[in-house]
Symmetry: D2
Subunit: 373 residues, 4 copies
């Protein structure tokens, strides 16, 4: 693991996710760019001292050289390091599981695609929400034609944490990397949660917009980056869509919601109630499909326990790790990756996210004009 030292939320989540299905052992880390914190965090997590690195480049080199070196690295650093770290490990022949976004520029994202392909390595991107069984099932239903042709895609991702007094404190903003374009990339909310919304919309609907129009906004005084974005989408088949992401929506916790309307039916998914998926036929009555009760390869592959026993966010995250392990095992065995693990978001999805960010920036700069994706 690179990043994820003491106090880092997402690092702990990655470690639980890796552990949950018993497919990984956590044996080495460069857990912080601060050497002292890296070492202390490693000790707290019971890493052997000699595998507790203070520099990710050194870690890539050293682990690649060991007989028992790591097979795969998890990257949970601030955004601006994703690409350099991933590059170092790919070049060392080590598979990568990287937090989103893929990087901060489209160019570095595209370079990673080339590198991962050239090296023949697995590159998983943790768009967590695609690991939910009912999101997988939604995708399977759409692909099977259950809702007909897609006409509308509406996705939203609303939080309120940035409007909290603590986050509005200028002193916090001056130091937190999420507010620093150099470390976070050129957007705030758009890259942080807008890309998740964009990904799940495409993951489920099976279609990608070819034009968008956007307005970014910051409600936070003097904030350089956006804390709010509204987007309209046009799809090649004539479908229309909207995307709204905000970190300034009072009362919202982690409200990622997707609705896909087709000619025959619509689907609705709410991340805060992930064991359910609603399907409503044109002119008909809503049905509440539940994890464990629906039959379908995709949902059954991504679930562990019976219906009525809720699974949650950590299980969705673990699913990505499980699919990553399956892909790596297949690669080692020189076999094609198993079909049911193939929906793991990959480096190409990361590039799509960076293209989305660039298009939002361009549209916003041009006064919310339609731009091509």
């Amino acid at each position: 693991m690179v990043g994820g030292g003491d106090g880092a939320f997402i690092g702990a989540v990655h470690r639980i996710a890796a552990r949950l299905d018993d497919c990984y052992e956590f044996v080495a880390g460069a857990l912080s760019s601060d050497a002292q914190r890296a070492i202390a965090s490693g000790a707290a997590l019971r890493l052997e001292p000699d595998r507790c690195y203070t520099d990710y480049r050194e870690m890539a080199r050293a682990e690649a050289a060991r007989e028992d070196g790591i097979d795969v690295v998890a990257i949970v650093t601030p955004n601006y390091l994703h690409a350099p770290v991933a590059t170092a490990f790919l070049e060392a022949g080590i598979h990568v599981i990287c937090d989103k976004p893929l990087g901060i520029t489209l160019a570095e994202g595209e370079a990673l695609v080339d590198l991962a392909r050239a090296k023949g390595l697995v590159f998983a991107l943790t768009h967590t929400y695609s690991g939910y069984p009912m999101v997988r099932h939604a995708r399977e239903l759409v692909a099977a034609g259950a809702i007909g042709e897609v006409r509308q895609v509406h996705v939203e991702y609303a939080q309120d944490w940035m409007a909290d007094a603590a986050a509005q404190d200028p002193a916090f903003q001056a130091t937190d990397w999420h507010n620093d374009a150099r470390r976070a990339g050129p957007t705030g909310c758009t890259g942080d949660i807008g890309t998740h919304a964009f990904h799940i919309a495409g993951f489920v609907s099976g279609i990608q917009p070819n034009e968008l129009l956007a307005e970014m906004h910051s409600f936070t005084p003097n904030r350089a980056l956006d804390d709010h974005v509204q987007v309209m989408l046009r799809y090649p088949n004539g479908a229309r869509g909207t995307l709204w992401a905000s970190q300034m929506a009072a009362g919202c916790e982690n409200a990622l919601k997707l609705r896909v309307f087709g000619t025959k039916a619509s689907l609705a998914f709410d991340q805060e109630h992930p064991n359910e998926l609603w399907i409503t036929p044109q002119g008909g009555s809503a049905q509440r499909l539940t994890r464990g009760r629906v039959r379908g390869d995709a949902a059954e592959h991504a679930t562990r326990i019976p219906s009525g026993h809720p699974e949650g966010y950590l299980e969705a995250f673990a699913q990505l790790y499980r699919d990553g392990a399956a892909q790596i095992h297949a690669m080692v065995a020189k076999q094609p990756p198993p079909a049911d693990a193939a929906w793991l978001p990959a480096v190409e999805d990361g590039v799509a996210g960076l293209r989305f960010i660039d298009a939002v920036l361009e549209s916003d700069r041009r006064g919310s004009r339609w731009v091509s994706l």
Copy 2:
């Protein structure tokens, strides 16, 4: 009543609404532009033959001349007749309750404002959803500062009836007035339900956008008018908003939903569950306020029965009639209208709706540019 003959949905609704609180007697009508249907409908509704008219102008003249003539007329015709009929009755000194939209051009709307003011008559516009107790309560909460300053307004109104096979039938479309720009006005979905969404957003939030950007669309092949519209809103105080209205959203019945986010809390209202209003403080837990349990003049004024005994759409509609009656009584008594009846949508709201329609049309024509409202 003008319009509302046999088979007309909205006419029957107006009659129940007028009856519910026992403030009106139904005594005269020009119920159809088809003379035979007008007479048959009047008979079926037990009107006296001599007050069952075949022409609205004749009705205005005759009723104005009778000692026991009507005090108020309900207009439930196709859109293009709203303004001419209203004009005829206003000129005859008769109060008006008119279905929305106010008319088909901004000019005729503005003329009605002038006329109603000049005549000193009540002109109610039936934006039904503003009659719900919990919508009134929401407005009162916002006005009292309960959610702080408004930052975001998101409103949507989705239906699926136009995607039904019956409504998609070209033969139906060729005859139904909703598809005919001459009778319906220059928009379809935008005027039909978009104006309801626009009205409730302003009614509750207490703020009006000064800029919008829109894209209209028709999923129905060869339909002249829009069946779908997406709008972004900007407000003078920096607030942002979205409006989505669609009659092609599979599985949606009459899904009008409003969310208003402020600096302190957010509100959410869903027309299909009108006895509830959700309020969630910044960083806090949602509370489900219910009709009959909340204390507040506005909600208590607009309700009839105790909490837990659901009121619905007809009661909301009746509230507009009740408020109209209160305003007329006050006018007759040469007193100011009672405060609690003052929230009845009026001719000025109709003009605001027509301005909204014009702005949407202009933005759409210009490739979704921002336009002033």
Copy 3:
């Protein structure tokens, strides 16, 4: 109308219900046992002075004698007067719409059955909740075998108003007729809301228990009557059930909920969301049926406006009045009552309710033993 003078909640509800569908004219009343209040209330409701009575017996005589006398009387007095008043009007040849419970003793209830049959008059009992379209639909589904054979029936009716400080005030209890066995009958909560729960359970499930076991309780200090009751039910076909009614359940408004489980599926109805009915197949996914979308004679008969436009309690109440009018019209025309109005609760349902009350009393008295119904 007998009872329902100024300030009486249920009288106002009956008047709205009678008015809503325009099947009744309100022309006469003995609105209070207090003569002055009776006259004042009649004047306020615009009754002609000569039809504003101070004694119900006089009203029955006088109205029966008039050529334009009333066809039907609505009885909304305290419980102990239901039977005497109904008797007076039946004997005068006038149809009856009576609030529940039918009376305070089983004997008087049985006498009313005999009298109504002998006179050939309509006797409607306002078990309001059976007027909801989705309750009618539920009954139709069960009767059509949609859930298979019924195995379990669980019904509950919870309120909290009696735990309010105002209702707990001994001064209030000393005067309110609900606390006075002489006027309310031998039970409190059991007769007041338990009978509603019992009725809807049988109405929908189509089966009646033949044994029950009960415990009554009063949480209110020194209250003579029960404010809480718990019941177990056994049915002839082996089905099992529970009934819980409480007026001391903090936070409950008017929470009448019914669940019926069959061999193939289950149904769930919640009175506070009356436009919905949930059906879930054995091993399957819940479906949310909605008023206006479901096809079926019973629901369509009992509805007025399209799906997504909520109907509520007053419309359910009005449905009973509408069905009563249809039965009376048929009787006048010497025709069989229309099939779709036949589900109106009648005097026999009132007797079933009184039998239920008696059985609860007996079981409770015997230490919650099983007793036959």
Copy 4:
């Protein structure tokens, strides 16, 4: 681990739960009473061959003798083995985490209490649902007086799996241990899920009934054990309650629901939506408390990730393991167990469950008479 070989649902759940928070290492097992299956399962789970036992007594002896022997055993066998296995390990000085129910007779349960106390060992019983953060929070709220004095406790646990064709198949019933009184104990549904319901009711409400009345039933033809039970409860403080558990409730997945009504407010928890807890004040509006947003030691102790990121059943289960580890660490360190881990269900809760089963059996046998607990 004893039990939990290949194909056993609950064994896999225990292993994930133990792994999730990284407090345990899985190193030894007697995974099946079938020697071949025990060995194959151990190999599949990567146990060292010499710690893969075919007899639990041998395992207890051998592990106790090893320097690196296990500290704690997880027991996931059929019910009838719980007590013998636990006894063997306790006597060997090894802490125990045991699936519920504690055993099949009250006598063996009481013997385990004595033994565990005599040995000074931790004995955790996996009443999973008490591990949910919002269940912990509910208990904390009740204990802090937030709902006033408890008046009513209603708990239900409904499933439908036993009504499935597969479970109704006599061939299945003839072999499945859940249908065999010798292996499952004297009850079916009552012990299987009724004890969970009984435990959570006491865990949250903080009070225990002193009398109950019950009816057991089997809807399954020729089934020796109950598949359905209905219970009424009386508490020393005058509170009343009901408990309903059924495995024959069509459409129910794992529907454990608890409601506790106090003099000031009520609480409602639904296991299928475990990130929420509803609190409604007397006469007031419901509030939806959410995991991660509520402040309180108990909930914060039992949670891992921020609000809006759902946790589920596995995390609740893991909480019991985490609390068990904390207790064991404290014991090793000769310190009092940490307060926040003290709510772990223990051997005494198992005895209370066995007493509940005995009382239900006795009441049912006596025709649903009230019996003391």
